[in-house]
Symmetry: C2
Subunit: 402 residues, 2 copies
Amino acid sequence: MGGILDGVTVLDLTRVLSGPYATMLLADMGADVIKVEKPVTGDDSRSFGPFVNGESVYFMSVNRNKRSVSIDLKTDEGKALLMALAEKADVIVENFRPGTMDRLGLGYDRLREKNERLIYAAISGFGQSGPYSERAAYDGIVQAMGGIMSITGEKGGRPLRVGSSIGDIIAGINCSCGILAALVNREKTGKGALVDIAMLDSIVAILENAIARYQVAEKDPAPDGNTHQSIFPFETFPTASQDDIMIAAGNDSLWARLCEAIGRPGLAEDARLSTNPLRGENHSYMYEQLSDALSAKTAEEWYDILTAVGVPSSPINRISQVIENPQVQARGMIQSFEHPRAGKVTVAGNPIKIGGDGAAEYGYSPAPMLGADTLAVLRDILGYDDNEIGALSRAGAISCNQ
Amino acid sequence: MGGILDGVTVLDLTRVLSGPYATMLLADMGADVIKVEKPVTGDDSRSFGPFVNGESVYFMSVNRNKRSVSIDLKTDEGKALLMALAEKADVIVENFRPGTMDRLGLGYDRLREKNERLIYAAISGFGQSGPYSERAAYDGIVQAMGGIMSITGEKGGRPLRVGSSIGDIIAGINCSCGILAALVNREKTGKGALVDIAMLDSIVAILENAIARYQVAEKDPAPDGNTHQSIFPFETFPTASQDDIMIAAGNDSLWARLCEAIGRPGLAEDARLSTNPLRGENHSYMYEQLSDALSAKTAEEWYDILTAVGVPSSPINRISQVIENPQVQARGMIQSFEHPRAGKVTVAGNPIKIGGDGAAEYGYSPAPMLGADTLAVLRDILGYDDNEIGALSRAGAISCNQ
């Protein structure tokens, strides 16, 4: 078989990260994702570094497997063209500030009149409703407002931002999830839906036990370095190398194996540390003893020793080490493609592996040049001839192959 | 209409966080999620704190809207019962270590023989394939191995773990996405699929531009506090209160508005800071100037001032502030239900909002007591009578209402 989403057509008006991440997941799975970009500059992230031969690797990492059509939505002809494409599409996705599509005359209500099967998905900072709805947001804003920063950082230190834009990315995954649920629903009802994803909502939904802890203790959770709240040991320790090692010994039998492996079998007999609650109570003592023992070898040596006896541990990999990790490689999570201008580009693979009867081996085609597929899409999807395309081009409504 | 996933039956063998998060998203959307738990203790997280009246709030936060059936999969009768349920289900989800279900005689191949439409979804630390496949993992291990820690932390400081278990949670969202894609595909092919989600893959897929940056610079990205890599200012600043404020002024016009609002209009004219690249080059100078100005008022005051002029900013909310935030409230992201033993319990709402024709207002029913729905499920789904149920109970294969 081909892709798991073969036959699903997605009109993609999104820019930068959250929306492109959502449609990347769908494109990898086989949907025909038609990226609609403004002429001349295209998606803003085409101008975000880092660059190779003038091409943005940032842009390429989340726009592989898509086609690019360049339409000027400020022209009447461009709007009519978008409307014509929306009549043929299964899904339209946008991440403008709420209200923008309505002002263009291309809002959900208008498009639904033309195509009641259309699934309209919108990602925004704060959502399509509520008092902050029309405000602009960036990832840093929703990480601060949504509480994840307040529980990330050193114990006693200031709150820290997660080092990647998870506000955008998780909103993107939630969006593709909502689109797929709406597609499942459409099989029964014949009708589309409005999928409304907010970056702020997406952060609030990943706080895990922090809301529960606040409720019970009536005290705000705070950053706590790398220490787990309820499993001991489950944290990082210094070693003989510059690198720390993460060790998670989630039960008493793993605890005994850990003590043995680091040459301190006596610790497993130590009454102060014999159960998980006791290891929590006497945490400083435990940490001291383990750190002392672990300072004898490098992180890499300990990782091999602990792995051999089945105690979960990991070095704290830098990006180069992640790329070379044998498990990451074996799972196809590092992918390369040849881009016509930039040459070989390496990106993260799709984490949603679907096999069995519906086996899908993902292909990874390079991200499109701006407008590269304008002609093909107008011909294939709308059946336009050269005269019609020429007229649109002269009206400044489209551009091709920039 | 009812839920967007009305009519979809999910057999849920998952425990703790990653799997329960996946099926929570489906249950909120209306799927009938039947949680299969071992007798006496049930899902391990029923014993994870914090507790209210002996009930785990941790467990309740990700298991609302589900039913609980208690089956002992170590008995032959229990296995046969699970097989019978799998014949009627659309989806089965598990997060055992790879190989466990095969050893129970309940692996994908075996279940597929009985029900070729079944979608079998598995979440594990490292995935169903590759050299690390059979290893146990915890969130801390995949955060360390997958690289997110290496880019989170203070500049020059040690790598830090993100303060919630995003390795589990993002794997859970990816899993529900894969299940929904497989349901869409089943409409065409009539066949189920194997959805194989790894926590490690899920972390590698959210590194954003870190892989691109390594590729171009051939230098590992490092933690950089709260400073953005390419937008200036986009970071936190100290204020007159104890709290910092996050400010993101993504372009020159926002920069000018920011300088005006903090009473330093001269900064906007300062040639050293007139463009984004210059503000990056002269970052320490910019940071000094802004910090000096921002030290005059509290974070709360600056937030009001900057919001009034449209400069994106946010206080760094603690959990209690997140819960009371008017936008978070307006979006229904804080939900409560009455639990028969624990009383009122507050949880995060579902971030996937689906409206329009297929409008779905999510209901939030309390998480089930262990085995509360054993009888109802055996009667409704399998049509068993009291004799059959009595025999299963005497064989120790099921238990009810503990």
